[in-house]
Structure formats: structure tokens, C-alpha cells
């Protein structure tokens, strides 16, 4: 794993919302607690000085509670949210230097995202939802339908290709979301709490599905979750995020064995107990 090429590398990413946000970066103010910073400067620092590296084919999981900044972080990677500072390199390309057209090209071909809210278009059936990304790339109709059918089959939905999102269960909708992300054969998959809205049983099924696809397709994955069990199950590396910072980055075993501080320990204890 250590010798694998680097797929994603981030250095010192900051995202500060608010007026004159760039002044907050690396200033002493940035260390203030959230509410104090907001009253003092009117800014909210969602992501503070985050650096990490994901090798090709690796699964990097970011775990944190709501409000920890993890959803903002994953959106910074493909600049759905513009980071305030820092460098992001994806497949050797400096993402922050890309022009709008190049950025679109990156999103079309290299980076796909799976959303917590599924994000399916209500007026299109499953097949056309999967084909959406290909349509945007300007592929021919025959091409995109063929590819979409293949991907739907991959996630086991070939039988409901003609169904509309509101006719599908939550689990099936997220499979469509997954298929849509896979349709343009991206190098990197970004998952933003994809299974939080699902029932526990379906969630486990979907986690297994992701592991299976990961083994078959060897994608690089960044996975956001608030569920430590999910993180331990999926991740090669797990980052625990709190108040916009990484508290600890470690392998699953390491995390359970050597929690860096009380915060992490509290989490891990819970897991250890529930596994007993």
C-alpha cells in the first residue's frame, strides 16, 4: 500500500465561512472556540488546517459528529465548496488551479460523489438517472443507455430500470445514486454519509456492497460517516474529526488500540463494548 501512487493529497485545507474569511486562516483567532470566533469576527471556521493523503485504491474514512465539518471537507475536494486556503492534488493535478472548464472535466471523469440525500432527479427513471452524468458529457444515447444498464446490473437493479425514484425504497434509491457515480468510471468516489438515511439492515447490506465494488473495481474512496462501526468496517485509514480538525488519523486497529485522546477514547470504548 505504501508504494501505491497517491490519488488524493491535501495540505492545510481551510474553509472559513463569513466576511474576510481569508484573514482567519493561520491567525491566532482560528484557535478560538466556535462561538467566540463567531462573535468576534462573524466567521465560522468549518475546516481548519486539514492535511491527508489517500493512495490509489485506498479507502479513507472521515468520522465525526454533526457540525464537525466533515461534509464541508469532502465538498472542498472537488471544490463544490471553494476552500479558503490549502492545496489539493488529485491524480497529480492541482485542483485549486483548475479553470471552470477543467474543473467540470475533473468532475465528469475523475471524481464522482454519492450523497446522503441520494439526489435523484424525480422526473427521470432509474436508468435515465444513471445516464445523467454521461448525458452531460455528451455521449450518444445508445452509448449511455448501454453503459447505464451495465452499471445498474452491477448494483443489482437491472429489474427496476424503468422505475421512478419515488417508486423505489431508500436502499434502492441509494443504489441508483451509487450506479450514477460509477457510470462514468471515475478514479475517485466521494461518499457523503451515504447510508445515514437508511435502516440498519439495509445499511449493512450497502456497506457490503461498497466493499464488494471496491474489491472488484479498485476505486479510491473518501467516505464520510458519523458511525464509527461503519468507519471501522470500511476504512484503511480513519480520521476522527472534531471542530474542523483531525484529532487522530490511524488504521482501524490502531485507532481502537491507541486512541489519541479522551474524545477518541470515548468513541472507541463504545465500539469495544458493543462488540463484546
Amino acid at each position: 500500500m505504501e508504494t501505491a501512487r497517491t490519488a488524493i493529497e491535501c495540505n492545510g485545507i481551510w474553509k472559513v465561512f463569513g466576511p474576510k474569511s481569508e484573514r482567519i486562516v493561520d491567525s491566532p483567532d482560528a484557535d478560538l472556540p466556535r462561538s467566540e470566533l463567531e462573535t468576534k469576527t462573524g466567521c465560522v471556521a468549518a475546516v481548519r488546517d486539514i492535511s491527508f493523503r489517500v493512495p490509489e485504491g485506498g479507502v479513507f474514512v472521515v468520522m465525526g459528529l454533526s457540525g464537525s465539518g466533515k461534509s464541508t471537507l469532502i465538498r472542498c475536494l472537488s471544490r463544490l465548496i471553494e476552500p479558503t486556503a490549502g492545496t489539493i492534488t488529485i491524480d497529480g493535478q492541482s485542483v485549486r488551479a483548475l479553470k471552470p472548464a477543467e474543473l467540470r472535466e475533473l468532475r465528469r471523469t475523475k471524481v464522482s460523489m454519492v450523497f446522503q440525500h441520494f439526489g435523484l432527479l424525480p422526473h427521470r427513471n432509474a436508468l435515465d438517472n444513471v445516464a445523467f452524468g454521461l448525458e452531460i458529457q455528451g455521449r450518444s444515447k445508445a452509448q449511455r443507455l448501454q453503459r447505464s444498464r451495465e452499471v445498474l446490473e452491477l448494483v443489482g437493479l437491472q429489474d427496476v430500470a424503468e422505475s421512478y425514484p419515488d417508486e423505489l425504497s431508500g436502499g434502492m434509491q441509494q443504489r441508483v445514486g451509487l450506479a450514477r457515480a460509477l457510470a462514468n468510471d471515475p478514479m475517485i468516489l466521494l461518499f457523503d454519509e451515504p447510508f445515514s438515511a437508511l435502516d440498519p439492515l439495509i445499511r449493512r447490506e450497502m456497506q457490503d456492497e461498497v466493499l464488494r465494488l471496491q474489491r472488484e473495481l479498485k476505486k479510491t474512496v473518501v467516505f464520510i460517516t458519523h458511525d464509527l462501526n461503519e468507519a471501522l468496517k470500511l476504512g484503511d485509514q480513519i480520521a476522527i474529526m472534531r471542530d474542523g480538525r483531525f484529532v487522530q488519523v490511524a488504521s482501524p486497529d490502531d485507532l481502537v488500540a491507541n486512541p489519541a485522546d479522551d474524545y477518541v477514547r470515548a468513541f472507541v470504548q463504545d465500539v469495544v463494548r458493543s462488540n463484546d
Binding site: 475533473l106 468532475r107 452531460i136
Partner: protein
């Protein structure tokens, strides 16, 4: 009582002096003194904007320079003839189709756009128009509608999209759109006549001005309602702005867009009829003539033709339900679409060819059976038997006289005979209490403008007419609210009643306001009472519907919680449903008042007099100065009514806790 130290009293006094109530009272008192002392007990002669002379002078200048001035030679003139030609060509095309060809075209279009049931209804409408014997006038109404609606939608949708994407632009046009919405259709005609003379052109322009806002608003509403999550998905997929609009925003906003088109059509129809006043002809002309000559039968006949046109457009534009649309799309293949298009055109062409060979163009006259005769007989019978002398209730004339004498006259006199400054002050105070200082200032200014209108020289006709109109509106609104509120609550609580009323309410709102005057006129003859009753009848459906929707909108969780506490039905209504629905009920009242107002104005045609009559007089007798002054007064009154009642929804309900 406690003995309060002096310091505290001082502080309290100081705080009290700065309280909004005291400030408000002082401001109003000063204004009153200013008005009373500065302006005098009657409107002073110098407080006169001289609108009428200026407008008439401008009109005179126009009649001399219309042919030579650059603005008309290169601006309004060509625009006017382009619109006139567009309508004329559409009319020619409709005539060229012949009636069987038109029937087939309508049937196929409705079948393609809205499904089989809509196609049957649309064909029924076409037949209905023919049977009523108003084929030709209805065709020109349809042509006028087609051109106006096409332009309205073609302008409205792009502007709506642009304003959804540009909040600053939206804020700017919102002011304009709000103002346009409170203006009754009438007022749009006057400036259009001034610039475009009479005929098709001013009608089309007035219709667009009146109807396009619906399209703009609903498009913007739909686009802004697209979940941000879906926009993010499109962005994450690398979609360009153009692709996002085409593949995400427009399809998701589609129901709202379709509703916008539908509403645009309904509004357009309302004004296309009134546009007969400026010589656009069509079925509206028939209604207008019949109304002005009190030929109830003819008016009903022509009114029905207009209703048929309304339904025709409604069916053609309503589209499919979501379920129907999916089933429809599932059957589509490219080959089939082409085949259908080709065969459709072939059917139309062959129908037209056969009709031409057979020599038919207009709907055969011997097939048509105008219902004016029987209607006239019916109303004659009613007026013979029910006009007077019916035991207990007295008869329609007695009823009408009694209402006029005991309700309408006292209220009118109360308003008309009061000194003008008292009315201004009273309205300002009411507006302040209802909606705060800004609304009070707006309302005060609006009335001051009315006070400065002096159409026919020194006397105060416009002011008196405004008060007269206001009195009619107030009575009609009170009656409407008294009827609509209980029915609406009942319908809101009983899903069965709501389901029963729903088609009736929907239908009632498609029919143009104008048409409501006709049967009322048959029953009550002319005067202020029929106008008031028509406006009540027109205001009832939205009043009932909005009240019912408010009650139905109360969250089921709140109802369940109240039930679990053991509320009786009455307690539930009093303490849960009405308080929670109050805000939407009051918002509904605001809309209802504006609708009622528009009918009261239109009722000027049938003897309700006042501002409505002034406008009609101005339009038909080419006294544009008088018309414009009355129009300004109408707008001012509409603004006053709108601001005051809009405030109620916020003032008389407990504000939801601020989210920040």
C-alpha cells in the same frame, strides 16, 4: 398601590415617550392638524395634480402627432401594427382551418398534451361555441388569446428564470409585480389606449401586462423551489449552467411552469373580454353590448361562449397528472412520435380539404341554437313572479331595494359625507394598527393622491366615487367573509365536503369575473346591488378554498396531540385549528378582497356607478383624462386595501419565533 419613587416615574415616562404607541399617536395627531389646518375642511383647490387636463392635452397632442413623431413612427406604430397583424393572421388561420379542421386540431392537440378526457372536454367546448351561435366572435377572442398568451409566456418564462437566478433583479421586479397584481384589469387598458390607439394592439399589450406576471412569478417560484441538493448533484457531475437549467431546473420546476401558463391563460381571458371596451371585438363585445342594453339572454349566451373558450384553453394547457405523464412517456418511442405527428397532420389536412370541398367554413348556422330566448323567458318569468310581493322574503326587487336603502346607502353616506381629512386620518390609523408605520404612510399617501384628483374641474367627484366604491367593497367583503368562513372551515374539517366542493371551486375560478354579472343582472336588474352580489359570488370560491386549505394545512401531529388530550370538536376548532390556520385564512382574505374589488369596479358597467363607470366612460367616450384619474384612484384604493389586509396576517397572528 405602591408608592413609586419619583426617579422611576421619570424613567418610565421617558421610556413611555419613546414607545412606538406614543410616537405613532403624536405623528398621527400632527398629520391631522396639518391636514385640518393646512388643507382645510374641504379639499383645497391648490391640492390638485391636474392629471385629467394633462392627459387630455397629451391625448390631443398625440392625435396631431401620431403620424409624425419618431416614437410613434419607429416605436409604438410598428409595434402596434405588428400585434394587429399577428392577431389578424391567427384569426385568418383559424378561419382557414374551417370548423371541422379546428375541431380535429383541438382534439389531437389536447390528446397529445393532456390526454383523452381533456380532448373530449375540449371538443365539447368547440361544439358549445358553435351551438351558441357565436362562432365568429369566439374565433377572434381565441386569436387574441393565442397571441397574448404566447407572448406573455415567451416573455414570462425567461424573465422568471432570470429573476430566480438573480436575487437583486427579483427584488426589483417584485415591487413592480406586486403593484401590477393589485391593479384591476381595467386600469391596464387606459395607458395602452393612449399609446396604441384602439383595436387589437392595446388589447394585446394590456393582456400581456396583466397576465405575464403570473408566468414570471410561478416560473421564478418553481426554479427557486428546485432543491439545492439537486443543484449540487448537477454541479458534482460537472454540468454547465446551461445543462443544469435544461436537465435539472426546468424539468423539476415543470409543474410550477405549467401552472404559470394555466394562470396566465385565466388572467388573459379576464382581460380579453374587458378589452372589448377598446374595440378588440370578439365574444367580449357581445357580452358588453348585452350588458349595456340589459339583454340578459344575449349576455348569458355570450358569457357561456366565453366560458367555453376559457375551458378550451384550460384543457389544452393543463397537461397530464404526474402518473398519467409517466404512463404516457412509457409508451413513447421515436418511431411512434414521428408516426403520430405525420398522421396527425394528415388527418388535419384531409379534414380541411374535405371541408373546403363541401364548402363549410364557419360552424353551420342551422346547427346553432342560441339560448338567449329561453333565458330571457326564464328571467322574465322570474321578474314577473319574484320581483315583488313574494310572501315573507319580499322578492328580488324588494330585496335589492331593501339592501340599497338599509345597508348600502348608510355605509356609502357614512364614507362620502365624512370630511375627506377624517377619512385619511382614519385610514392611516387603521393601517398603522394593522401593518405598522410604513403601511400607514403608504396608505396615507395613496389617499392624498386620490384627494388631488379633480377630473371635472372644481368639484370632488373622484373622491366621492372612491368612497362610494370603497363602501361597496366593504359590504361585499363582509358578506363574503361571513359566508366563506364557516363553509371553508366545514370543508377544511371534512375531507368529503372538500372533495365535493373542489371541482365546483376550481371551475368557478376559471370563469372570468365579467360573466358573474350576467345572471345577477337578470335577477336584480341594474344598480349597486347586482354588482355587489356578483362580487360576493366571485369572491366566495377563493375565500372558501383558502380557508379550507388553511384548516387542512394544520399539521396532523397537532390534531393528534389535541385529540389525545381529549379535546371536543369545538375545542379543537377554537383552540387548535383556527389559531393555527389563522395566518393563511387572513392571507386568503387579502386575496379575496382584491378579487372582490376588481368585480366591484367592473360592476360600474351595470349601474354600480362610481370609479368603474368613470373608467368605462373614459374608455368608451374617449374621455381619457377622466378615465386615467379614476384608474389612479382605483390603484390607490387597491393599494390601501392590500396593505391593510396584508398586515393582518402578521399583526393578528402570533409571529413564529425568529429562527436566528
Amino acid at each position: 398601590m405602591f408608592v413609586v419613587p419619583n426617579v422611576a416615574i421619570d424613567d418610565r415616562l421617558r421610556a413611555g415617550l419613546r414607545s412606538p404607541k406614543v410616537i405613532g399617536f403624536t405623528v398621527v395627531l400632527c398629520c391631522t392638524l396639518l391636514l385640518r389646518v393646512g388643507f382645510g375642511a374641504t379639499q383645497p383647490s391648490w391640492w390638485n395634480f391636474r392629471v385629467a387636463p394633462v392627459v387630455d392635452g397629451f391625448d390631443h397632442w398625440l392625435s396631431l402627432h401620431r403620424g409624425s413623431h419618431w416614437a410613434f413612427r419607429f416605436g409604438f406604430g410598428p409595434m402596434s401594427s405588428a400585434l394587429r397583424n399577428a392577431v389578424q393572421w391567427t384569426l385568418n388561420a383559424l378561419r382557414f382551418l374551417t370548423w371541422p379542421g379546428l375541431l380535429v386540431t383541438v382534439a389531437l392537440t389536447a390528446l397529445r398534451v393532456s390526454g383523452a378526457r381533456a380532448a373530449i372536454m375540449a371538443c365539447g367546448c368547440v361544439f358549445g361555441i358553435g351551438m351558441l351561435g357565436l362562432w365568429d366572435p369566439s374565433l377572434s377572442t381565441i386569436a387574441l388569446m393565442a397571441v397574448s398568451v404566447t407572448i406573455s409566456v415567451a416573455v414570462g418564462i425567461p424573465v422568471g428564470i432570470y429573476s430566480a437566478h438573480h436575487p437583486k433583479f427579483e427584488a426589483a421586479i417584485k415591487v413592480v409585480l406586486d403593484a401590477m397584481q393589485v391593479m384591476p384589469a381595467y386600469c391596464y387598458l387606459l395607458p395602452c389606449v393612449l399609446l396604441f390607439s384602439i383595436g387589437f394592439a392595446p388589447s394585446v399589450i394590456a393582456t400581456i401586462l396583466f397576465a405575464a406576471p403570473a408566468s414570471i412569478r410561478l416560473t421564478a417560484h418553481g426554479i427557486k423551489g428546485v432543491p439545492p441538493a439537486l443543484m449540487e448533484v448537477a454541479e458534482a457531475q460537472g454540468a454547465t449552467k446551461h445543462q443544469t437549467l435544461l436537465h435539472v431546473e426546468l424539468p423539476v420546476a415543470r409543474p410550477s411552469l405549467v401552472l404559470g401558463v394555466n394562470q396566465t391563460i385565466n388572467l388573459a381571458l379576464g382581460i380579453v373580454v374587458i378589452a372589448a371596451l377598446v374595440g378588440s371585438g370578439g365574444a367580449g363585445q357581445n357580452v358588453l353590448d348585452a350588458l349595456q342594453h340589459l339583454e340578459v339572454g344575449n349576455a348569458v349566451n355570450a358569457g357561456l361562449a366565453i366560458v367555453a373558450v376559457a375551458f378550451l384553453f384550460d384543457r389544452l394547457s393543463s397537461g397530464r397528472t404526474m402518473k398519467g405523464a409517466r404512463a404516457f412517456r412509457a409508451t413513447r418511442t421515436q418511431g411512434r412520435s414521428v408516426l403520430e405527428a405525420v398522421s396527425g397532420v394528415a388527418v388535419v389536412v384531409s379534414t380541411v380539404a374535405i371541408a373546403k370541398l363541401a364548402g363549410t367554413t364557419a360552424f353551420p348556422a342551422n346547427w346553432s341554437h342560441p339560448i338567449s330566448g329561453p333565458i330571457d323567458e326564464f328571467f322574465a318569468w322570474i321578474s314577473d313572479n319574484f320581483r315583488t310581493g313574494v310572501p315573507i322574503i319580499g322578492g328580488t326587487k324588494s330585496f335589492s331595494d331593501a339592501i340599497t336603502l338599509h345597508v348600502m346607502n348608510p355605509v356609502r353616506d357614512l364614507l362620502v359625507q365624512r370630511a375627506w381629512w377624517m377619512i385619511v386620518v382614519a385610514v392611516v390609523v387603521i393601517a398603522w394598527l394593522s401593518a405598522g408605520s410604513r403601511a400607514a404612510a403608504t396608505c396615507g399617501l395613496a389617499l392624498m393622491v386620490v384627494a388631488a384628483l379633480r377630473a371635472s374641474g372644481g368639484d370632488d367627484t373622484i373622491w366621492a366615487d372612491t368612497m362610494n366604491t370603497l363602501s361597496q367593497v366593504l359590504i361585499a367583503v363582509t358578506i363574503t367573509a361571513l359566508i366563506a368562513f364557516p363553509i371553508g372551515i366545514a370543508a377544511g374539517r371534512s375531507p368529503r365536503l372538500f372533495a365535493m366542493l373542489r371541482p365546483l371551486l376550481d371551475t368557478a375560478q376559471v370563469i372570468p369575473a365579467f360573466v358573474y354579472l350576467v345572471p345577477v343582472l337578470g335577477l336584480f336588474s341594474t344598480g349597486r346591488v347586482p354588482g355587489m352580489i356578483a362580487s360576493v359570488v366571485y369572491g366566495l370560491p377563493p375565500g372558501i378554498q383558502l380557508t379550507a386549505l388553511g384548516i387542512r394545512g394544520v399539521p396532523a401531529a397537532a390534531i393528534e396531540a389535541a385529540e389525545s388530550l381529549g379535546c371536543t370538536r369545538w375545542q379543537m376548532l377554537k383552540s387548535v385549528q383556527i389559531p393555527m390556520a389563522w395566518r393563511s385564512i387572513l392571507l386568503g382574505l387579502n386575496q379575496t378582497i382584491l378579487l372582490i374589488f376588481s368585480v366591484v369596479v367592473i360592476a360600474g358597467l351595470v349601474g354600480a356607478g362610481s370609479l368603474g363607470l368613470d373608467v368605462v366612460y373614459g374608455l368608451t367616450k374617449h374621455e381619457l383624462g377622466l378615465g386615467v384619474e379614476a384608474g389612479i384612484a382605483i390603484v390607490a384604493l387597491a393599494i390601501v386595501l392590500d396593505r391593510i389586509t396584508q398586515g393582518w396576517a402578521n399583526t393578528f397572528t402570533r409571529r413564529p419565533a425568529a429562527s436566528h
